[in-house]
């Protein structure tokens, strides 16, 4: 007799008017989604567009990988100990950023500041290592203008580094806002976006250290 939707709407187990926010919002039924979901979704779309931009740089790097123009190849340049240190720093920072999320969720000013400070220091150490690596490449005559391979390498990895640097500024802003204004709701939405950004940067780095550094450091005879 009645459609499943109508039966759902009259099901007393689902509460008043059958609306259980969070149960049906994803399908456009049951009223508007809570703002936290909408904010996260909007920022998620931005992150995906950012990832698509990175994928274009990845494609350029993969295509130009062997175009070394007689200059140094990836195998000769890359120092994997540096890459391992950078990877460890960024992975640890993504974990402490998660801890900061939990601290914000539990309204702990002290732990929020501590977790964000540790996150920021780890991110800063990552940037320092990256700048040292880049300047050592340039000092060895392997700057971005040396070959198409190096141009695409510096563009891809440098773009990630710029993202991390901007995220560090954002992180400092979040610490100041939490400190000065407390756990106001709009600030918590900003922090939600920041934490998504930081985690997404680590995802991009996972692709970079595997596909740029580890594959690149393989001896030429092992490359596909």
């Amino acid at each position: 007799m009645s459609t499943p939707a109508l039966r759902l709407a009259h099901d007393p187990a689902l509460g008043p008017a059958g609306i259980t926010p969070g149960r049906i919002t994803g399908r456009g039924a049951g009223g508007p989604a809570p703002k936290r979901i909408v904010v996260g979704y909007g920022f998620w779309i931005f992150l995906l567009s950012d990832v698509i931009m990175f994928s274009a740089f990845f494609a350029a790097y993969a295509v130009l990988f062997k175009s070394t123009a007689g200059g140094p190849s990836a195998h000769e340049l890359f120092d994997l100990r540096n890459t391992a240190a950078e990877t460890a720093l960024l992975l640890a920072s993504t974990f402490t950023c998660g801890m900061a999320s939990l601290a914000v969720g539990h309204r702990s000013q002290k732990w929020t500041q501590v977790a964000l400070l540790v996150t920021g220091l780890l991110g800063f150490a990552f940037i320092v290592l990256e700048i040292r690596e880049f300047s050592s490449f340039v000092a060895r005559g392997a700057g971005p203008s040396r070959s198409a391979f190096l141009s695409s390498f510096f563009t891809l990895v440098g773009c990630h580094g710029i993202h991390v640097s901007v995220a560090l500024l954002w992180l400092g802003t979040m610490m100041a806002q939490f400190y000065a204004k407390g756990f106001r709701q709009d600030i918590r939405y900003r922090f939600l976006c920041f934490s998504l950004f930081w985690h997404a940067l680590d995802i991009v780095w996972v692709a970079i250290f595997n596909l740029v550094y580890l594959v690149g450091s393989l001896p030429p005879e092992l490359l596909p």
């Binding site: 149960r23 809570p34 995906l48 990845f58 494609a59 985690h199 393989l218 596909p224």
Partner: protein
């Protein structure tokens, strides 16, 4: 709905819990989730570096193994840090993610495919130019 707005906790793209029922997971459980994610990600990172250094793996397969390990670790990050789940609230996020993955694959593999064929087809000209 206004009474739910007080429970906007940290880093959730979509909730893995319902709005208005924030206390389904205790702090210890949430920390455990992050620790588990960190452990799995660290394991996969170590596996990647091992696969790169070892000569135990069939040589031509190393690059492919690294690609697979990278995808696996990205999956771990999505689940444990970005909290992409199968929750109904997450449907839109997952659809957007699927579309993003499609575009990324088109750009990367499409570029490689087209450019390798171009290189291949232009080879005679290239070797001609190098001829004395």
């Amino acid at each position: 709905m206004t009474e739910h707005s007080d429970y906007e906790a940290g880093s959730y793209v979509g909730a893995d819990r319902e709005p208005g029922r924030p206390e389904e997971r205790t702090l210890a459980q949430e920390v455990r989730g992050y620790v588990l994610g960190l452990g799995l990600a660290a394991l996969l990172t170590i596996a990647s570096f091992w696969a790169d250094q070892t000569r135990e793996i069939y040589a031509s397969g190393i690059a492919m193994a690294l690609l697979v390990l990278a995808v696996a670790q990205i999956g771990i990050h999505l689940i444990f840090f970005l909290h992409i789940t199968t929750d109904p609230d997450n449907e839109n996020n997952i659809l957007a993610l699927a579309f993003g993955v499609l575009i990324v694959c088109l750009i990367v593999f499409g570029s490689l495919w087209v450019m390798l064929h171009l290189n291949h087809n232009l080879m005679p000209m290239h070797s001609l130019a190098q001829a004395p």
